[in-house]
């Protein structure tokens, strides 16, 4: 049985939301992804949102802008490099590194949403109280906190879907082999990113 040659429709919202890599890849995805990383880093520095790992989001201490940008860069490279190596191992296609790195960068678009929703004043107030172990709860602030927590979970799930689809399109990988390679590469990337960010934090603190 031959697979149909029909391409996904550009009018499909579902395709744009979950697999925009059918339409955007290579240098264009890389340029857009780098813009996402810069904006998420900047937004993160305003809301103190740290993307300190491939699949991590933490609202923490204030830090200089460069630290947020470097954390984003480390998370992206730590995700893309193992995916690239996994692709080289399992793909029978002539894959290009720029597609893997570009789609992995653009797949981090949900971090931009996370950094944006974390700006909610109610969330910031609640985080401020939790940081100093103040357990006083104001309903409006708790509601904002819960909303941001739910959004973060939803955005992380969306990001994983985007990362997998980017890997799948870039490396022409499908099925259980692709899923296994993706899971192993992402876990490996998470470990690398955590190690590098710990080194960065130690170095930054002098």
């Amino acid at each position: 049985m031959t697979e149909t040659m029909a391409f996904p429709s550009r009018d499909s919202l579902r395709a744009w939301l979950f697999n925009p890599f059918h339409f955007i890849a290579g240098g264009r995805a890389l340029a857009m992804g780098l813009a996402v990383l810069l904006l998420a880093g900047y937004n993160g520095s305003v809301s103190n949102s740290h993307f300190d790992g491939v699949l991590d989001f933490h609202t923490g201490a204030a830090a200089p802008l460069w630290l947020f940008l470097v954390e984003g860069g480390i998370s992206w490279v730590s995700a893309a490099l193992p995916l690239c190596l996994a692709g080289l191992l399992i793909s029978k296609s002539r894959m290009r590194s720029i597609d893997v790195f570009g789609t992995a960068a653009l797949a981090r678009f949900p971090t931009l949403v996370m950094a944006f929703v974390a700006l909610l004043p109610g969330y910031q107030r609640q985080i401020g109280r939790l940081t100093v172990m103040n357990l006083e709860s104001i309903p409006a602030d708790m509601a904002a906190f819960s909303f941001v927590a739910l959004m973060v979970v939803a955005m992380l799930i969306w990001m994983v879907i985007l990362m997998y689809n980017g890997f799948s399109v870039s490396c022409n990988a499908r099925g259980w082999k692709a899923v296994t390679a993706f899971v192993v590469a992402t876990l490996f990337g998470e470990i690398i990113s955590k190690a590098l960010i710990v080194v960065l934090a130690v170095w930054a603190m002098g």
Partner: protein
């Protein structure tokens, strides 16, 4: 005149059809025999159009991606699928030929 698609599969059992008779459209001379359809003719219309577009764009996948409005790896993945399909079609043995080989 309505453009009809060449049937390549038997509507009854799904087996690949074979050519038994070819006829000249002008003098009506006919040739009869047992001819297999070329692999390219057995591709789906979409696949044939893709192949035609690939040749017309001088084999440039970047140009083809622009024509279809999709990304480069999406086009390359479809080409990989098409190569696999053509490989399986060129190695496929029809039941009629298989019988001849065995007897």
């Amino acid at each position: 005149m309505e453009r009809r698609t060449l049937p390549v599969k038997c509507p009854s059992c799904g087996e690949t059809l074979r050519v038994k008779r070819l006829e000249c459209g002008i003098c009506a001379s006919a040739v009869e025999g047992d001819f297999g359809l070329p692999a390219v003719a057995r591709l789906t219309p979409d696949e044939q159009t893709f192949l035609l577009n690939l040749v017309q764009s001088s084999g440039s996948l970047k140009e083809l991606a622009r024509v279809y409005g999709v990304s480069y790896p999406t086009v390359r993945n479809r080409l990989d699928t098409l190569i696999e399909t053509l490989r399986s079609l060129t190695t496929e043995v029809s039941p009629a030929r298989d019988k001849e080989t065995k007897s």
